[in-house]
Point group: C2
Chain length 420, copies 2
């Protein structure tokens, strides 16, 4: 029985005719090898930008339903072009819209959630020997309207289709070779990881690693889909995301991730009365602002008022300020301060669970570099430190070296040698 595989190509992999032909050749090769092949494509980056520009020209606040109708054309264009190119290579191919592919979503336009994948039409086409191109990022709502899935939507489409088909693997093609032990632009000897666990990948995606979207990893873990992150331009293996039990060797630390797009908000003189924190974070949630770390100091004895700090993504800062401005007086909060120049560095590793010494190593290493830790948060397999944005690169390099993650050495910390 032939294997079923899902291949997902992002916007940069279908950016022009030449790249579409290259992706088509790669897809055709897998078909030639005898696999049943579904490819999920994103819109060409230019196409999406042009469509957004058109919408901005005709309307100040485009209707979400119509925005979805507009934007969903981009992936259809990519898929139709790729199907033409694959046919020219001698293989039967068919493009399907999200709706035709059976991607059923809720009715939340521009950020719909997938409810079901009714893959009958994909299966029929595969049974007929066709390569199936599926338009990523989109579906059809229970109201029969075109929807889009929001950020990371095409990755999620690919994983959802792979889950529905019981595919042996979902390959995510991007312009990087896989998941690295740190960003190679900051750490030249960062090594490509052969495998990471879902749990590690989730922590990495939420702490700055951009190779996979958090949402698609969550979907893959829930549905047991094997993900292979690899390069569109390089035939070598990339990084496989697997269940933890498959990851035979548990390194103490798998990777160091970072972000320089963090902002810290500090509220001073917050009344120590029930409901104030609820009002603050409720207002932020209503404004769509995702709060990362939160610290609250002990209220002082005399005035029963506390200080509270939290971090948000820099891009959300404007919305956060708007949400809080209307709240200060009503809640009796004395003052508010902002710091946009913050960053975050995190160490992630499933082996951390059974080794309590990691936090001490992190703090000592950053201390030796003279890097001040402003805030700390932890999970069973992650330690994150908020530091000044201009020291993030130093922190990443120091931690990568301290945990011996580099490609130059072959110690206990590099079991993922398959990536080399």
């Amino acid at each position: 029985m032939a294997e079923t595989i899902v291949m997902k190509f992002g916007g940069s992999s279908v950016a022009d005719a030449q790249r579409i032909k290259a992706a088509a050749a790669r897809i055709a090769d897998r078909r030639k090898a005898g696999d049943r092949v579904v490819a999920v494509l994103s819109a060409r980056g230019d196409t999406t930008d042009e469509l957004l520009q058109m919408a901005a020209e005709v309307s100040e606040s485009p209707d979400p339903r119509e925005m979805d109708m507009l934007l969903s054309t981009g992936e259809r264009i990519s898929c139709a072009l790729a199907a033409m190119a694959i046919r020219d290579l001698g293989y039967d191919a068919i493009s399907l819209t999200g709706s035709q592919a059976g991607i059923v979503t809720d009715t939340s336009h521009t950020r719909a959630r997938i409810l079901d994948v009714r893959a009958d039409r994909i299966t029929e086409a595969l049974d007929a020997g066709q390569v199936v191109l599926v338009a990523g990022f989109q579906g059809v709502s229970t109201e029969k309207d075109v929807t889009t899935l929001g950020r990371g939507g095409s990755d999620t489409t690919a994983v959802a289709v792979a889950a529905a088909l019981g595919a042996s693997v979902c390959e995510i093609y991007t312009d990087v070779a896989g998941v690295f032990s740190a960003d190679p632009r900051i750490v030249p000897d960062a090594k490509k990881l052969g495998t990471v666990s879902f749990e590690e990948m989730l922590e990495m995606a939420s702490s700055g690693a951009k190779v996979l979207q958090l949402r698609s990893v969550e979907y893959a873990r829930t549905h047991g889909v094997r993900i292979h992150c690899r390069s569109s331009f390089d035939p070598g293996d990339g990084t496989i995301v697997v269940n933890e039990e498959e990851n035979v060797e548990h390194p103490l630390i798998t990777a160091v991730t970072h972000s320089t797009e963090e902002a810290r908000v500090t509220l001073s003189g917050v009344p120590d009365t029930p409901g104030v924190a609820g009002a603050v974070f409720g207002a932020l949630a209503d404004a769509g602002v995702n709060v990362d770390m939160i610290i609250q100091n002990e209220p002082t004895e005399d005035d029963k008022a506390a200080d509270m700090s939290f971090t948000v993504a820099t891009e959300d800062l404007r919305d956060a300020r708007a949400a809080l401005d209307g709240l200060m007086e009503a809640q009796g909060i004395q003052s508010i301060a902002w710091d946009e120049q913050m960053g975050k560095v995190s160490v992630v590793g499933a082996g951390m669970r059974s080794n309590p010494g990691v936090a001490a190593t992190v703090f000592r290493t950053l201390g030796e570099q003279g890097i001040n830790i402003e805030m700390i948060s932890t999970s069973p397999i992650k330690i994150s430190c908020v530091v000044s944005a201009d020291r993030v690169a130093d922190a990443v390099r120091a931690l990568h070296a301290a945990f011996d993650l580099g490609d130059d050495e072959d110690g206990a910390q590099t079991p993922h040698g398959a990536a080399r």
Copy 2:
């Protein structure tokens, strides 16, 4: 009970943000007046050209099904943008793809025929007070694939939707003010016609008038849809296409039409045996070449061979040559000749039925101008003459004057004075 109207805007009427907003304002005005409004839109001209270019870059012979998937995105973009703009004007609006609008077609990709219009969703939206934007030129096949309707497809969509809804009128908006008694670029005093009959409009569309596509007029006649051709940029009335019995005054001649894109093919020494003509015109039909006029001379007594001439559109000449090249020897045809410099001038008028003197006037008028008539064809309401392409403009002017069709005079030939 509010009236239901269908408004159709072509590519030049939605070519950029400003024109989309202008069309949106025009549509919103009709909604404001209390009508139930459906608008059918074409793709922006640039969009279609860009999509065709993309297809040419990835494939030498793009698959028709995928071509339809690709091209159908253009009208969806127009409709989504127009819906956004109408909402900004304060009216609820919804865009529907051909499939969502219930335009069911056969499976002939790139030139599908409409089989049925299942307008439930349009009706529901109208009942809810929404303006409905329908993507023209496209439908969904009985195999659930996206199809396109080929040339003139958006006009046909509009007429088909109008028929399904029992709309009181189907308004076709273009960049000309209506149907004229001749092309105003050739005849400065050509007058805009207040009404024309379906029969006249069909003859005019098939003999060079470009304002309406033949196919949509046929559909409108069959289903009794009233068409109003009018300007996108001018609020005045245009031309209404009506049943002949509604057209109270029958002018002898309604309009002079012309074409300079005619080619004549002459086959010499065609054996006078059964089946030869069938082979010739069968091969042309298989190649998709539409043959207009045909003349066959009497076979000569001695060799039983005849001469045969026919005309085709210049754009089809290449296909015609290819189809005939393989046929000459097998059918025993002696020689073939081509003339690409031909044109056609036609006079059309429902009043011709009861007045046998028209042909004589046509021939005398052209003779006085020294214009040689190469071929003639007639219908009960039309006389067409093939002439040299470089004399077409002279012929149009002379016939327009001979039948007194101009706007300057007020004789028996100008009952359509309402257009002035």
